[in-house]
């Protein structure tokens, strides 16, 4: 498809790509050779920083800058690949790991060079058992070929890599909760600062990056930062694997240059809503991003900055489309229930706020809510945002707040007074 620009997804369905033999035949592991044999660690770091690659896990922070925060010196440094993809609507990392695991491993080895990390972990969610098996096999192959181990490609640098499986907790995708979980504790987020770059895993400096971010590194090193910047927009260079799902005819992962029209993603690539239906609204970046209505959102370019300007966010790059048959009140309840289930319970605003939001939305769907309840729902959301250690609570508050604001009439229609007047009319 012409509208797609496949860099990470190039050769994605090539038979045997998950094996090191095929991956190398298609030019794989050349970037690692370049990074270790022709470049100094500072040059690798500079190239990544220069490329302007922004983190693909949700926050969109510059990857090179993050790596540069790690202190220099000879202590143990850690690199964690965040493969705990649990954001509702996101499934890009799953496909990247399942079909092209060596691209990720190569990216990790390169990032380890840039950050000076010697111990690396892939924290993969426990549900991704198939992908975990494939990664295990691929890591073993990479050790066998000398790309991993105590002496990478004869340079004397040590890079060890362990695939660590989680056991089912959304919160472990939050970077400090991920570290706690990896240390063998319950996945509770930590207070920041200190940031992981200074004090992370086992108290050591730690770089944490998403699967897709790291998968970009081999391409940047082999083709250069200038080449990378020729894709996408000035502030969001490169391509993005976008997961499109929900009420569309061809859900799936599409790799596009950042800045393409959102309409192209939803209508042309994913086939738009089923015949005879139209886009009522969508989450532009997973369930944590404030919803956009079809009218306001479809005309926006799909980039970090455009989504932020529209009051939402690109997040992990996962579009969930809902058509006009969807009740936004039910959607809000479904969304709130998820965050209520996944709240780790450490901070009160999130633990109680998610609980009460669910209770009030349930009351609303039963037709027993008073007008004050809607005000309370809105104010609870405001009181969660920014008041917890991590953003899980905010991730519920932002989309629910946006739903109440943008689809207020649907919420009002469910009020008790409305159900009385409807009953009166019927009588």
């Amino acid at each position: 498809m012409a509208a797609e620009t496949r860099i990470l997804f190039r050769n994605i369905d090539e038979p045997g790509l998950a094996s090191i033999r095929t991956y190398r035949r298609l030019g794989g592991y050349e970037a690692v050779k370049k990074a270790y044999q022709e470049m100094e660690p500072e040059q690798v770091l500079h190239e990544l920083e220069e490329s302007g690659l922004r983190g693909r896990g949700g926050a969109g922070f510059s990857m090179g800058k993050k790596a540069s925060f790690l202190p220099r010196g000879d202590m143990d440094k850690y690199l964690c690949c965040n493969a705990d993809e649990s954001e509702p609507g996101a499934f890009k990392d799953r496909e990247l790991m399942q079909k092209n695991p060596h691209q990720l491993i190569e990216g990790i080895i390169i990032a380890a060079r840039a950050a000076g990390a010697n111990r690396c972990f892939i924290f993969i969610r426990g549900e991704y058992d198939l992908q975990g098996d494939i990664l295990d096999a691929a890591v073993e192959e990479a050790y066998g070929a000398g790309y991993l181990g105590t002496d990478v490609l004869g340079t004397g640098q040590q890079v060890k890599l362990v695939v660590h499986r989680g056991a089912g907790a959304y919160i472990c995708g939050e970077e400090t909760a991920l570290l706690d979980s990896l240390e063998g504790k319950r996945g509770n987020p930590r207070l920041k600062p200190p940031f992981p770059a200074v004090q992370g895993l086992y108290g050591g400096p730690t770089l944490i990056n998403n699967v897709e971010t790291l998968s970009n590194a081999p391409h940047i090193i082999s083709s250069g930062a200038e080449w990378f910047k020729s894709f996408g927009t000035e502030q969001s260079p490169g391509t993005k694997v976008v997961s499109v799902s929900g009420d569309v005819q061809r859900p799936g992962n599409y790799e596009v240059e950042l800045g393409v029209p959102t309409k192209l993603l939803i209508n042309d690539l994913a086939g738009g809503p089923p015949k005879g239906h139209k886009v009522k609204g969508f989450f532009p970046g997973g369930s944590s991003s404030p919803v956009l209505t079809g009218d306001e959102g479809m005309k926006l370019p799909y980039s970090f900055e455009a989504m932020q300007e529209a009051g939402s966010m690109l997040g992990s790059g996962s579009i969930i489309v809902f058509d006009e048959t969807t009740s936004v009140v039910d959607l809000a309840l479904r969304t709130a229930r998820f965050y209520h289930h996944e709240s780790c319970g450490k901070c009160t605003p999130c633990r109680e706020g998610t609980n009460w939001t669910v209770k009030m939305l349930e009351r609303l769907t039963r037709g027993e809510a008073t007008p004050m309840d809607i005000e309370v729902i809105a104010s609870v959301q405001e009181n969660i945002i920014g008041h917890c250690l991590c953003v899980l609570g905010d991730s519920m508050a932002m989309p629910i707040g946006a739903m109440v604001k943008k689809y207020r009439s649907e919420f009002d229609d469910k009020l008790i007074s409305q159900s009385y007047s409807a009953a009166a009319k019927a009588a």
């Binding site: 498809m1 797609e4 994605i12 369905d13 090539e14 038979p15 045997g16 790509l17 998950a18 094996s19 143990d76 993809e85 649990s86 954001e87 509702p88 609507g89 996101a90 499934f91 990392d93 799953r94 399942q98 111990r119 426990g126 549900e127 058992d129 198939l130 098996d133 660590h164 499986r165 989680g166 056991a167 089912g168 907790a169 979980s181 990896l182 240390e183 063998g184 504790k185 319950r186 997961s243 799902s245 929900g246 009420d247 061809r250 859900p251 799936g252 992962n253 599409y254 690539l269 989450f283 369930s287 969930i320 809902f322 969807t326 959607l331 479904r334 969304t335 998820f338 996944e342 780790c344």
Partner: protein
Amino acid sequence: MSPAEIHSLALEAALREEREPHADPEGVPEPSEVEVPRALRREIQRSMKRYPQKRSASIPALWAVQRRYGWCTPDGIRQAAAVMGVTPAYLESIASFYDLFHLEPTGDHQVLVCTNISCWLRGADELLGAFCEAAETGGPGHSSPDGKVYVRGFECLGACDIAPMVSIDERYYGPLEPADAADAVEQMRMRGEEVLPAKRLEDRGAAGGKRNPADDRITAHTMNKPKRPRPKSAARKKKS
């Protein structure tokens, strides 16, 4: 489970193990006093070696226990604790935090039906109902009467492209119709039968495209069947 039920279970467990019901929680078990199956011990020790700190092996150790006994049995947790040199209570606190660990018996086959937004928009609630009905579990979160099939609703499993979807014995299938549920349950009950072979995630190409079937790494994988035996009542067997 209600607090009262948990309390009475704990009481029973204490009496069975001839402990004082309200004594202090158990400390780190004496390795010589706990009999640990050799394979389990070796697997946990191997996990501990992979990390700079042994506690990092908590989750891998619990996975090993769950694979061996079908769920995280109190005995299994105690064995893992003895190998790792931590208290059983510590491991239990980990097991209770994560959704994939079971602290009570489940069925031989696990069906997790995704009910999150994308799947819900495409009929996940009906699918969950169909699985419960086909397996006669009497509702989500329960096993079929013969103990073969356990069905529960689950949060986003990360496969919205094949919505509505399920994870059966840790492999993904979709998109499914409610009618597929009866077939899947039937296939799970038959030994050696492949489950929903036409709906496997690993056969799909990117963006809904076709995947080349010549990919030996994908098609020759033994992934369509539960790869580990799930003994039905290993805990009871072990006790005797």
